[in-house]
C-alpha cells in the first residue's frame, strides 16, 4: 500500500479526511516551531504548510488509531531492537538470544533467522539499499548480513567491549557504532575496516546516528552528553548537555536533520535545536528509568514521536503540541524496541522477557 491509500483508509474516519491528507501526504509536518509556517521536509525541501489546520488535528478524530494487527513471537529472550527495512517490506528484530530475525512487515510471517553472534544482539541497522543488515552484539563484534546471500558478509572487530548501537550513513558506505568501551567507531562498510575511533564519552555510548546527508554523527552516552561530530574529520562539533545531565538512552536526528530527538532516563524525550543548543520540545508521560529505549519519529500519518516505555505501554506524542495522542497497551513487559514504518502507518514494538513478542500496530 502506498500513501495514497491513506485517503481511503482515513476517509471513513470522517470529516478529518482533508486534514489527514495534508499531513500524511508528503509526510510533511516536520517543522517544530509552532509559529512558523514553513517547514523543512525530510528531503530538505521547504514546504509551506497551511498552519490554520493546526488546531483541528488535535481533536479526537485526528488522533492516531493504532491497533494491534499481528503479534509475532519467535525470540526466546528479550528483544533489543526493531527496524523496518528502508522499503518497508521487512522488519528486522534482534534479541538477547543472539539471533536476528526478519519478518514480513505486512503479513507478520517470519522470513529468516540469522545466527552467528555468540552473545546477545543489542542493535541492528539497515543499509539504505536494504541489502545489508548490521547487527551489534555483546560479543564485541558487528556482523554485516547480506540479504542477498542470507549470510554473514563481514564481522567487524575492534570494539573492546559490548557494541551497543549501530547505524549506516545514508549512502551506506559508512557505518557508525558505539559501545561500552566508550568509543564511537566509524567503519568503512566495503572494507570492513575501522576508519575512526572517536574517544567520545566517558560512559557507554548508547546511540549513534548519521544525519540525513551523512555529514554529521550524533552520539549519546550514559554520561548524559550528546555530542555532534563531523563525520569526515571526527571532530566534535558540539556537545549538548541537559542541566540535569541524565543518562541519555537514545538520540537521533530528525528526518530533516535540523533537530535532535533525545531520550533520557529521566523519563523525558527532548527535541533539541542543536544549532542553537536549545531544547525546543519536551515529551513526557512515559517511564524511562533503566533501559535505553528507542524513540522514533512517525511521519506517515501525522508528525508523531513514538516511544516505548517501561510501563509496558507505547506512547505517541504529537510532535508539535507535545500532547500524548495515543497510548498503546498490550505488552506485558517494558517496551524497549520500537520502529515506525517508513511509508505506512505501522508501528512495531517489542517487549522484554515477560512478553517476548513483537507487535505490529496498524492504523488503517
Amino acid at each position: 500500500m502506498t500513501t495514497e491509500d491513506n485517503y481511503s483508509m482515513n476517509g471513513p474516519n470522517g470529516d478529518t479526511l482533508q486534514t489527514d491528507a495534508v499531513v500524511s501526504n508528503e509526510s510533511s509536518d516536520e517543522g517544530v516551531e509552532e509559529t512558523t509556517s514553513s517547514h523543512h521536509l525530510p528531503n530538505g525541501r521547504m514546504q509551506s504548510t497551511p498552519v490554520p489546520d493546526a488546531p483541528t488535528p488535535k481533536t479526537d478524530k485526528s488522533r492516531p488509531q493504532y491497533a494491534v494487527k499481528y503479534i509475532l513471537s519467535g525470540h526466546t529472550m528479550a528483544i533489543s531492537s526493531l527496524k523496518f527495512s528502508p522499503d518497508g517490506t521487512m522488519l528486522a528484530s534482534s534479541a538477547a538470544d543472539k539471533l536476528v530475525k526478519l519478518w514480513d512487515a505486512y503479513s507478520g510471517e517470519i522470513l529468516r533467522t540469522f545466527e552467528g553472534h555468540t552473545e546477545g544482539v543489542n542493535d541492528i541497522a539497515w543499509s539504505n539499499d536494504g541489502e545489508l543488515l548490521a547487527s551489534a552484539s555483546d560479543d564485541k563484534s558487528i556482523i554485516l548480513w547480506s540479504l542477498e546471500t542470507n549470510s554473514a558478509v563481514k564481522t567487524l572487530l575492534g570494539h573492546t567491549n559490548f557494541v551497543f548501537c549501530v547505524n549506516f550513513n545514508p549512502r551506506s558506505n559508512l557505518m557508525v557504532t558505539g559501545g561500552y568501551d566508550e568509543t564511537v567507531r566509524v567503519w568503512d562498510v566495503a572494507r570492513g575496516k575501522s576508519l575512526k575511533v572517536l574517544p567520545a564519552h566517558s560512559d557507554p555510548v548508547t546511540a549513534v546516528s548519521f544525519n540525513h546527508d551523512g555529514t554529521l554523527i550524533v552520539s549519546c552516552a550514559m554520561d548524559g552528553l550528546i555530542r555532534i561530530w563531523d563525520a569526515d574529520s571526527g571532530q566534535c562539533l558540539k556537545t549538548i548537555v541537559d542541566d540535569d545531565n541524565p543518562i541519555c538512552s537514545h538520540v537521533k536526528f530528525s528526518p530533516n536533520s535540523k533537530f535532535i530527538l533525545s531520550a533520557t532516563q529521566d523519563s523525558t524525550i527532548r527535541l533539541w535545536d542543536y544549532q542553537k543548543t536549545r531544547c525546543v520540545k519536551t515529551y513526557t508521560g512515559h517511564t524511562n528509568r533503566t533501559y535505553c529505549l528507542f524513540t522514533c519519529f512517525s511521519t506517515t500519518r501525522g508528525s508523531y514521536v513514538v516511544s516505548g516505555s517501561e510501563d509496558a505501554k507505547i506512547y505517541i506524542w504529537d510532535l508539535q503540541s507535545r500532547e500524548v495522542l495515543q497510548v498503546l497497551e498490550g505488552h506485558r513487559d517494558a517496551v524497549l524496541a520500537i520502529a515506525t514504518h517508513p511509508v505506512r502507518n505501522i508501528v512495531a514494538s517489542a517487549s522484554m522477557e515477560k512478553d517476548l513478542t513483537i507487535r505490529l500496530w496498524y492504523d488503517e
Binding site: 529472550m77 534479541a95 551497543f164 568509543t183 543518562i247 533501559y291 535505553c292 522477557e353
Partner: protein, 1127 residues
C-alpha cells in the same frame, strides 16, 4: 720512439704534458677496450720530460721512462699534435733498467770510458754536483728531421760533462784547481776540444768529453742513481695519473659539471624531500624531477644543478651508491645512483632509454594481445634463443626478439664509456665528458657491458609492482628479452640480480622478528607508528628520531608496515603517544599507539621449511591438542566460573536487597527467578552437542590412543580432595564475616540513581573471588544448592533415561549421575585464577575431576583428559588468558547490554576495556590491585565535593606551603603574584585527554619547569551555601565528578558548568603540581603550580588534600606513594 724535449721550454712542457695526458688517456681507453696487442705495430711511445725547472740542476738524471707497461700502440686516429712519428727503423727505447745506448744528454757519462786512476766519488758527492753543465743541444722541434737521427748526425762533442764550473761550484780544497792545471798540461797537444774554457785564473770551467780521463783525474764510473743508497723509489702506480687543471677560460672541453643526475629514487618520494636531502650538499640552482610524459608519474630520476662543481662533487661523493634505507625514499635497500651530468646528456640518454623500453613494452603487449587471439598453442617451456612468436603463450614473460627493434638492443656492443646513448653521440663528445668522470666511475662503466639497463634495472626489477608503475609494463619484459638467451652470468651488475619477491617475504619476516626481539629486549612500552605504504617509504629513521626528539628514544626499528620506537624510560611511550598523536611526521599524519613490549616467545616457527611426515603429524597433533586445551579452558571458565560469577552477582543483589529491605527471604525469592533466567540464558545444551560431534570426529581422525583412557572413568568420589577444599573454605568464612559487616554498613548508603533497580556488584573483579565464597557459604548455602538442583534436575532427568541407552554404545560423553550431586562444590576449585586442573594421577586413586568441579560433565572430562595427557609445560601459558577475559567482561543476565538496562560500571571494571585505563593497569600493575578498596563506591569522585566542602585544611595547607616557600628564602606571595601575572599572558600548552586515573585528565604538551604556573583553576565563584545546594543538585543529576573547589571559608569555585581546563586535573598521591590560593588585586585565585619539572606528555596532577573521612574514595592514581584513598 722517444721524444726528447727541452725541459727548459715551459710552453713546450705544458703542451707536452697535455699531450701526454691525452695520449695516456687514449691509450688507456684503447687498452681497456680492445685488450689486444697488435704485434705488427711495434711502435712504442714513451715520453720523457724533465719536469725540473731549475736550470742549475746539474746532476744528470737518467731518463724517466714511463713505468707503465708498454701500452699497445694506438690506432692511427691518435694523432700527437707534435711532429708525427715516422715509422723509423730505429729500435724502441730499451726498458728502463738497461740504459739506452742512444745518446741522450743525461746519460752522457755512460760513454765515458777512460782509465781513471783516482777513486771515483759517489755521484751524490759534491764532486759530481760541482760540475758545470754545458748548454745542451736540442733537436728543435719545428724542422722535423728524420727521427731519430742517426748517430753520425749527432753533433760532435756533445757527450760531455761539466766537472767544475766556478760560477756555481766551490773549490774549497783546490782539488779542481789542481785538476784544471793537470788537464791544461795534458791538453797541450790541442787535438781535441779544449776541456778548459774561460779565462782568468779561477774562472775556468772544466769539462769532460766523451769520458776522457787524464791521469790523476777521478775515473768516471757508471752508477745507476736509482741504486744509490739514498734513492727513493717512487711508489708503484697502477693507474694513470689523472691530471686536473683548474678550469679557466683557456681550458678546452666543457666546464666541470655542476649538475648531477640522480637515479634509483623511489618514485613515491616527495620531491620536496628529495630537494631537502640534496640541498644539504649545496645550493641547488635548478631542480628538475623527471616525470613520465604520458602519465605524469615520477620516474625516480632527478636532475639537480648546483651552483658550483664542488657542491656537485660532494653530492656525488657522498650520495652515490649509498643505501639510505627507506628513509631516503627508495624502495628497500636500493642504491642511489648519482652521477655528474654537466650537460644533461646522460639525462637525455636515460630518458630515451626509458622511452624505448616503454615502447618495446607496448609493442610486446600488442603482440601478446594478438597472440592471445590466436588459439593458444602449447607453451614452449623455455624459449629458444630466437623463438618463434607463435610458440609463445601470452602468459610467458619471455618474448621473442623481434628483428625490427633488435638492433637497438645491441647495447653490449656499444662503446662502454658512452653510457647513456644509443650510439648516437659521437665518441669525441663523450670523450670530452670522460676526463671529468671519476676513475672509479669509469671503471665501473667499463666493466658493465651496457650500463643503461643495469643502472636502471634495480628500480623496476625488484620492486616492479611498487616502485615505478610505468616501468612495470615495459621493463621486465625487456629484461627477459635481452637476457633470456644469455647465461645469467651475463647480467653484469650485481645490483640487477636482486632477491626476488619470495626472498623479500622472508626478509620481512626476519625484520619483523628482529623488531620483536629488539622490542622485547627493550622491555618498556614502545610506540608503533602505522603508516600507509607511501608514507612508510618516504620517512627516514632520522625523521622519526627527530619526531621523538623530546623523548628518550632507545631505538628506532621498522618492519614492512610500521615503525617502532622504543624508549629508555618506561613511561615515555605513553607520553609520546599522547603528545605526538596530533602531529604530522613528514607531511603524513601518523597514528601512534603505545604498545606493551612483546613477549619473547613470539615467533619461533618459520625457520622450518621442510617437514618430514612424522613431524607433520606431530605438529598437527600438537596444534589440535592445544586447541582442545583452549576449548576445555573456555568450557571451564564459561560454564563453571562464569556461571558461578553470575550466581554470585545474583546472590549479591539478593543480599543487598535483603539487607536493604530487612526482610530477608522474600526478597531473595524474588530474585531467584532472575537468576534462573540467567542460567537458562547460558543454554549450554546446543553448543555441547556440536562440540561432542567435533570431538568425536577429532578423536577418530587424530587422537585414537587418547580416547581409550576415557573408558575406565572411575566415578568414585575422591574424598581427599574435598577435604582439602574445606580448609580454605573455613578460613574464608572468617574473612567473610568481616566483610559482610562492611557490607552491612555500606548498604544503606544513598544511591544516586534511586530508580535503577538493577545493581551491579560494585567491587572490582579482584575482590569478587573471596566474596563469592562468602556468599555461597555464609547465609544462603542452600539457596545456591537449590538453584543448582533446579538445573540439575533437568539434566539428570534427561540423563537417567539417556544413561542407560548410551552407555552400552561406548559413547564417551555420558554424564555419570553422581557428577551432578557434587556440582555444588564447583566454585571452590574452579574459581582459582588459573584453573589449571591437576593432571589426574593414574597410579593411586585418581581424583575424579567431575567431583572436584573441574568438569561439569563428561565432555569436559574428555577435554581435560585430552589436555592433561599431554604433559607439555605450556599448559599454564595456554590456559591463563581466557580466565582473565572472562573476569573482565560481565555477562548480562538478560542476554544483552540493551536489555540489561543501566548499571553503574565501576572504574576498575572499565579498566579492562577502556584503552587508556588498560595502559595504567599494565604500568602499575603491582600497585593497583593491592589498593583496591573493599567498599562499594557509588562514584569514585562523587564525594569529592563533599570532601572539598569539608576541606578546611586547604587554606591551611596553602599557608603551610607558603611558609615552606618562605623558609626557602623566597618572598612567596610577591613572587607568586608576579608569576601569575606573567603567566596570565603566556599560557602553558595543555591538552586534555582520557586519563588512566579518572575519566579525563590534563596533560602537558610542553615541558614545564618546577615552580612555574601551570593553569588557573577557573570557575564561578559562589558562596559556600550556594555551593552546598549546587552540590546536591549535581549529585542528584548524577554528575559523577565534582568541580567545586573551596577557596576559603565562604567562597567556593564551581567549575562544573563554567570553567577551564584546570578542572580536569586529577588527583594523585604523588602529584607533580600543587594548588595554591593567591590573592591578586584582592581577589583570591586558585592557581596550579608545578611542583617538579613536568615532562612532555605527563599528566598534570595535584593532591586534592581531602580530609580523612569514613567513606573512602579509592585513589587510582597508581603512583608508588599512593595512599589508596583520596580521603
Amino acid at each position: 720512439m722517444v721524444f726528447q724535449l727541452n725541459p727548459e721550454d715551459p710552453d713546450l712542457r705544458r703542451r707536452a704534458s697535455r699531450l701526454i695526458l691525452h695520449c695516456q688517456h687514449q691509450l688507456h681507453l684503447h687498452h681497456q677496450l680492445t685488450k689486444l696487442h697488435l704485434p705488427h705495430q711495434p711502435v712504442k711511445i714513451s715520453f720523457t720530460i724533465n719536469r725540473r725547472t731549475s736550470l742549475t740542476e746539474s746532476r744528470p738524471r737518467p731518463p724517466q721512462p714511463s713505468e707503465e707497461p708498454p701500452p699497445p700502440p694506438p690506432p692511427s686516429e691518435v694523432p700527437p699534435p707534435t711532429p708525427p712519428p715516422p715509422r723509423s727503423p730505429s729500435p724502441p727505447p730499451p726498458p728502463p733498467l738497461s740504459p739506452p745506448p742512444a745518446p741522450s744528454p743525461p746519460s752522457q757519462d755512460l760513454s765515458d770510458h777512460a782509465p781513471s786512476p783516482p777513486p771515483s766519488p759517489p755521484p751524490s758527492e759534491p764532486v759530481a754536483s760541482s760540475s758545470k753543465p754545458q748548454p745542451p743541444k736540442f733537436y728543435s722541434l719545428p724542422p722535423p728531421p728524420p727521427w731519430p737521427p742517426s748517430r753520425s748526425e749527432y753533433p760532435a762533442g756533445n757527450n760531455f760533462k761539466v766537472i767544475y764550473d766556478p760560477a756555481i761550484d766551490k773549490d774549497r780544497d783546490g782539488r779542481f784547481r789542481a785538476l784544471i792545471e793537470k788537464v791544461r798540461a795534458a791538453q797541450v797537444d790541442g787535438t781535441s776540444e779544449p776541456r778548459i774554457k774561460g779565462k782568468g785564473k779561477g774562472k775556468e770551467t772544466l769539462t769532460r768529453y766523451n769520458g776522457q780521463v787524464i791521469e790523476g783525474e777521478p775515473e768516471s764510473t757508471i752508477i745507476d742513481p736509482r741504486k744509490a743508497p739514498g734513492f727513493k723509489k717512487r711508489p708503484h702506480r697502477d693507474a694513470f695519473h689523472e691530471i686536473r687543471y683548474e678550469y679557466d677560460p683557456n681550458s678546452t672541453g666543457p666546464p666541470p659539471p655542476t649538475a648531477v643526475l640522480i637515479m634509483n629514487l623511489s618514485p613515491l618520494t616527495p620531491t620536496q624531500q628529495i630537494r631537502r636531502i640534496f640541498s644539504a650538499h649545496g645550493k641547488i640552482s635548478s631542480f628538475d624531477p623527471q616525470i613520465d610524459m604520458e602519465s605524469g608519474v615520477a620516474l625516480g630520476i632527478v636532475f639537480i644543478r648546483y651552483q658550483t662543481h664542488e657542491e656537485a662533487k660532494s653530492c656525488v661523493e657522498r650520495t652515490h651508491g649509498k643505501k639510505f634505507g627507506t628513509g631516503m625514499g627508495m624502495a628497500d635497500g636500493e642504491e642511489l645512483k648519482v652521477v655528474f651530468d654537466g650537460e644533461g646528456l646522460k639525462l637525455k640518454a636515460v630518458r630515451k632509454e626509458l622511452e624505448q623500453q616503454k615502447h618495446r613494452g607496448r609493442e610486446e603487449k600488442r603482440r601478446k594481445e594478438k597472440e592471445a587471439k590466436v588459439p593458444t598453442l602449447p607453451p614452449a617451456p623455455i624459449p629458444a634463443p630466437i623463438s618463434i612468436p607463435k610458440a609463445q603463450t601470452p602468459s610467458s614473460t619471455h618474448t621473442p626478439v623481434q628483428p625490427a627493434w633488435r638492433p637497438s638492443h645491441q647495447l653490449p656492443a656499444r662503446p662502454a664509456h658512452i653510457p647513456y646513448t644509443n650510439g648516437r653521440l659521437s665518441p669525441p663528445r663523450s670523450r670530452r665528458a670522460a676526463p671529468v668522470m671519476k676513475a672509479k666511475m669509469m671503471n665501473s662503466a667499463l666493466s658493465t657491458r651496457f650500463p643503461v639497463v643495469n643502472d636502471l634495472a634495480p628500480m623496476s626489477s625488484s620492486h616492479s609492482s611498487s616502485s615505478t608503475p610505468i616501468h612495470t609494463r615495459g621493463r621486465p619484459s625487456h629484461h627477459s628479452s635481452t637476457h633470456a638467451p644469455a647465461p645469467p652470468s651475463r647480467s653484469p651488475s650485481p645490483i640487477s640480480r636482486r632477491p626476488g619477491q619470495g626472498r623479500h617475504q622472508q626478509q620481512r619476516e626476519a625484520t619483523s622478528a628482529t623488531v620483536i626481539d629488539a622490542l622485547a629486549k627493550n622491555g618498556f612500552e614502545h610506540v608503533r607508528i602505522d603508516l600507509t605504504g607511501g608514507a612508510m617509504i618516504s620517512i627516514r629513521e632520522e625523521d622519526v628520531r627527530a619526531f621523538f626528539k623530546d623523548f628518550k628514544v632507545d631505538c628506532v626499528l621498522r618492519d614492512h608496515n610500521a615503525w617502532y620506537v622504543a624508549f629508555q624510560t618506561s613511561d615515555s611511550a605513553r607520553r609520546a603517544a599522547m603528545v605526538l598523536s596530533s602531529r604530522t611526521l613528514g607531511h603524513h599524519s601518523v597514528t601512534l599507539s603505545a604498545c606493551p613490549p612483546p613477549s619473547h616467545a613470539a615467533p619461533v616457527a618459520a625457520e622450518k621449511t621442510s617437514w618430514t611426515k612424522d613431524e607433520i603429524v606431530q605438529k598437527a597433533a600438537d596444534t589440535i591438542i592445544k586447541e582442545l586445551k583452549v576449548l576445555l579452558e573456555k568450557d571451564i571458565t564459561e560454564r563453571v566460573a562464569a556461571a558461578d560469577l553470575r550466581k554470585l552477582v545474583a546472590d549479591e543483589k539478593a543480599k543487598v536487597a535483603e539487607s536493604k529491605a530487612r526482610e530477608g527471604p522474600e526478597m531473595v525469592n524474588e530474585q531467584r527467578p532472575a537468576e534462573k533466567r540467567g542460567l537458562k540464558g547460558l543454554s549450554f545444551r546446543k553448543p555441547k552437542r556440536i562440540r561432542e560431534e567435533e570431538a568425536k570426529t577429532a578423536v577418530v581422525e587424530e587422537e585414537a590412543p587418547l580416547v581409550e583412557p576415557e573408558e575406565p572413568v572411575p566415578v568414585e568420589p575422591p574424598k581427599k580432595k574435598r577435604k582439602k577444599d574445606l580448609v580454605p573454605k573455613i578460613t574464608r568464612v572468617s574473612e567473610l564475616d568481616l566483610e559482610s559487616e562492611d557490607e552491612e554498613n555500606l548498604v544503606p548508603e544513598p544511591r544516586k540513581r534511586a530508580v535503577s533497580e538493577v545493581r551491579d556488584e560494585e567491587q572490582e573483579p579482584v575482590k569478587k573471588k573471596p566474596k563469592k565464597d562468602v556468599v555461597v557459604d555464609d547465609d544462603e548455602p542452600h539457596k545456591k544448592a537449590l538453584s543448582k538442583k533446579k538445573v540439575i534436575k533437568k539434566k539428570s532427568a534427561a540423563k537417567v533415561v539417556v544413561d542407560e541407552v548410551i552407555r552400552p554404545d561406548e559413547l564417551d560423553f555420558n554424564v555419570p549421575a553422581t557428577a551432578n550431586i557434587h556440582i555444588s562444590n564447583v566454585e571452590s576449585v574452579s574459581r582459582s585464577p588459573s584453573p589449571v586442573p591437576e593432571p589426574p594421577r593414574p597410579p593411586s586413586l585418581p581424583p575424579d575431576p567431575l567431583e572436584q568441579g573441574i568438569c561439569n560433565d563428561d565432555e569436559d572430562l574428555y577435554f581435560a583428559r585430552l589436555a592433561m595427557s599431554d604433559d607439555t609445560p605450556s599448559v599454564s601459558h595456554v590456559l591463563l588468558p581466557p580466565t582473565e577475559t572472562v573476569l573482565a567482561f560481565r555477562k548480562h543476565l538478560t542476554g544483552s547490554a540493551r536489555t540489561e538496562g543501566y548499571y553503574k560500571i565501576s572504574h576498575t571494571e572499565k579498566s579492562a576495556y577502556v584503552a587508556q585505563y588498560a595502559l595504567r593497569s599494565t604500568n602499575v600493575e603491582s600497585v593497583a590491585p593491592t589498593e583496591a578498596p573493599a567498599q562499594p563506591v557509588t562514584s569514585s569522585r562523587s564525594n569529592r565535593a563533599n570532601a572539598r566542602r569539608r576541606a578546611q585544611g586547604l587554606e591551611e595547607i596553602n599557608q603551610v606551603q607558603r611558609a615552606v616557600a618562605l623558609s626557602k628564602g623566597e618572598t612567596a606571595a610577591a613572587e607568586l603574584s608576579i608569576k601569575f601575572n606573567q603567566l596570565q599572558t603566556r599560557k602553558k600548552h595543555l591538552r586534555f585527554a582520557r586519563s588512566p586515573i579518572h575519566d579525563w585528565g590534563l596533560y602537558a604538551m610542553e615541558r614545564i619547569a618546577r615552580g612555574e604556573m601551570v593553569i588557573e583553576y577557573v570557575g564561578e565563584i559562589i558562596r559556600a551555601q550556594v555551593a552546598d545546594k549546587r552540590e546536591k543538585v549535581y549529585e542528584r543529576q548524577g554528575i559523577g565528578s565534582s568541580y567545586l573547589f573551596r577557596i576559603d571559608e565562604d567562597l567556593v569555585v564551581d567549575a562544573t558548568k563554567k570553567g577551564n581546563l584546570g578542572r580536569l586535573i586529577n588527583h594523585s598521591c604523588d602529584p607533580n603540581c600543587t594548588a595554591k590560593i593567591i590573592t591578586i588585586n584582592g581577589e583570591k585565585k586558585i592557581v596550579i603550580y608545578a611542583k617538579q619539572d613536568i615532562e612532555l606528555g605527563d599528566e598534570i596532577t595535584y593532591d586534592y588534600h581531602f580530609p580523612i573521612e569514613q567513606d573512602k574514595i579509592p585513589c587510582l592514581c597508581g603512583s608508588a606513594k599512593c595512599r589508596g584513598y583520596l580521603n
